[in-house]
């Protein structure tokens, strides 16, 4: 969806990086197997975090091998199918579908056309996903309406917009039945959601200000030429860091086994690094550089 959730690779053990890649391939394969080939294109790092949380309490699963459709000559290690994987794949389809609906509503021209086409292609997958996670589908649609209403009313409370978005991710915590797991998972997803929303708003600020589109930061801060003043930027960064601290405190309360290292790396190192690079405007170019070196 956004591509902000990623580990800080330099700090990972080779073994953990391999696990991360296997989980990514596993998610992609699960999307293809359960929801059809079109659904494979929706795979993202962001939802991989959800998989790591949902499967985190189980010991690391035995990997299988699979062929990657993007690079068919290579065989890759692949996390096996599991309940957590299926749920994550369903969530991925549901979120992507809603995002496309949002784009169809907001965008013009080519992007609008692409969003409409994507929606048509994903219709079958969405129906299957609704069957696997009916509560999540319902809550997501509900929150999307809330987000639209808040945007229409130009609500100046930045946290209200962020909360409406974060509640969509939060709904995934219902995967856990025991409150001792569900509550920390919910808190964790809530703060990651707030992080994602605000970082996205910060990255798009300049574009949105130029095109006259909605951006919550426009109504909270005094924005000039699509830029925040250095004080406001420092304040916003601090506020987002506070969310990450709360996310880390929640993460510490989950009895993690398999994905402990990876999750700590993402929350404590990866997300702060991404925030830093979005704030100083180097994020997109650093992503491009990373893709080339991979």
């Amino acid at each position: 969806m956004f591509g902000y959730v990623r580990p800080l690779r330099g700090e990972l053990k080779v073994r953990t990086l391999e696990q991360f890649q296997a989980d990514y391939c596993g998610l992609c394969r699960s999307l293809g197997k359960r929801f059809g080939f079109a659904a494979r294109f929706t795979v993202s790092y962001d939802l991989l975090l959800l998989y790591l949380i949902l499967s985190g309490m189980e010991p690391e699963a035995q990997r299988t091998r699979c062929r990657c459709p993007a690079r068919p000559w290579r065989c890759r290690a692949c996390a096996p199918e599991s309940d957590a994987m299926t749920f994550t794949a369903a969530a991925n389809v549901i979120f992507t579908y809603e995002k496309l609906s949002d784009a169809l509503h907001d965008e013009r021209g080519f992007r609008k056309l692409a969003a409409g086409l994507g929606k048509v292609l994903l219709r079958g997958a969405k129906r299957k996903a609704d069957r696997i996670a009916p509560e999540l589908a319902e809550k997501t649609a509900e929150q999307m309406n809330r987000i639209w209403e808040l945007e229409q009313s130009r609500d100046p409370v930045m946290d209200r917009h962020a909360d409406a978005f974060a509640q969509m991710l939060c709904a995934c915590s219902d995967y856990f039945r025991e409150p001792s797991l569900q509550r920390p998972a919910k808190e964790l997803l809530l703060h990651v959601g707030r992080y994602l929303y605000l970082v996205d708003a910060l990255e798009d600020l300049k574009k949105d200000a130029a095109k006259g589109r909605f951006n919550p930061l426009l109504y909270r801060f005094d924005v000039r030429n699509g830029m925040l003043s250095p004080e406001d930027l420092a304040y916003l960064k601090q506020s987002i860091f506070q969310s990450l601290n709360r996310a880390e405190a929640a993460l510490d309360l989950l009895p993690l086994k398999g994905s402990d290292e990876l999750l700590h790396n993402i929350i404590c190192l990866g997300l702060p690094a991404v925030l830093q690079s979005v704030a100083d405007g180097s994020f997109r170019s650093s992503v491009m550089k990373m893709r080339r070196t991979q």
Binding site: R183, R246, H264
Partner: protein, 208 residues
């Protein structure tokens, strides 16, 4: 009860030193200070209790029972101090007392509705509004409300403490780094301690 070695994450037969180190690490992680006004404070407290019990069993009860920090009773009052505790000293109205009670019970939505029903917006109203926002994870709103409360009642320690907690929490802990102790701060703390000792007639560092 779980295996105490498993709770502390050490191998059975680990040395006292290893057990102590593992215990310190965990106790720092789950210390009530890290969960001030956090909706998960009760879970952290349970965890702390479990760690303390495991440590006490492994270090043969008696002698070290006192050394485990934030032992059960204490940590209970910790997480909630500054909140329910101070409600009498500031003479809050019954309506506010009810809001505070609901916040402490974790009924955030009820507390929010009650608070919004109160028409007069004084310093305490903003403080409680900030506390509710903080629990919901609305960090920006929480800080704004705490700031207003502090401006309206500059002498109130409770409000300032809350603002300090939220400002402090923006300093990112950054993974396992923990307390940022550098050489300089250690030295200057020692020198301060030495000066204090000398003032009282003693001496901590004999050479200066």
């Amino acid at each position: 009860m779980r295996d105490p070695y498993e709770v502390l994450g050490v191998k059975p037969g680990a040395s006292d030193e290893e057990i102590k180190r593992a215990y310190r690490e965990l106790a720092r992680k789950y210390h009530p200070d890290n969960y001030t006004d956090n909706p998960l404070a009760d879970l952290a407290q349970e965890k702390m209790q479990e760690i303390n019990e495991a440590y006490d069993i492994l270090t043969k009860n008696g002698q070290s029972a006192n050394s485990s920090y934030g032992s059960t009773g204490q940590s209970g009052s910790y997480g909630r101090s500054g909140f329910g505790g101070s409600q009498n000293s500031y003479g809050s109205s019954p309506a506010y007392a009810q809001v505070r009670q609901n916040i402490n019970l974790g009924k955030i939505q009820v507390a929010e509705d009650q608070l919004n029903a109160i028409a007069t917006r004084d310093a305490e109203w903003y403080f409680l509004s900030g506390s509710i926002a903080y629990r919901k994870g609305w960090m920006d709103e929480a800080r704004r409300n705490y700031e207003i409360a502090c401006q309206m009642a500059p002498g109130n320690l409770e409000y300032h403490q809350a603002l300090n907690v939220i400002n402090g929490s923006g300093m990112y802990r950054g993974g396992n780094g923990g307390g940022n102790v550098d050489g300089c701060s250690v030295c200057s703390s020692l020198l301060c301690a030495d000066c204090c000792c000398e003032m009282m007639g003693g001496d901590l560092i004999p050479c200066c």
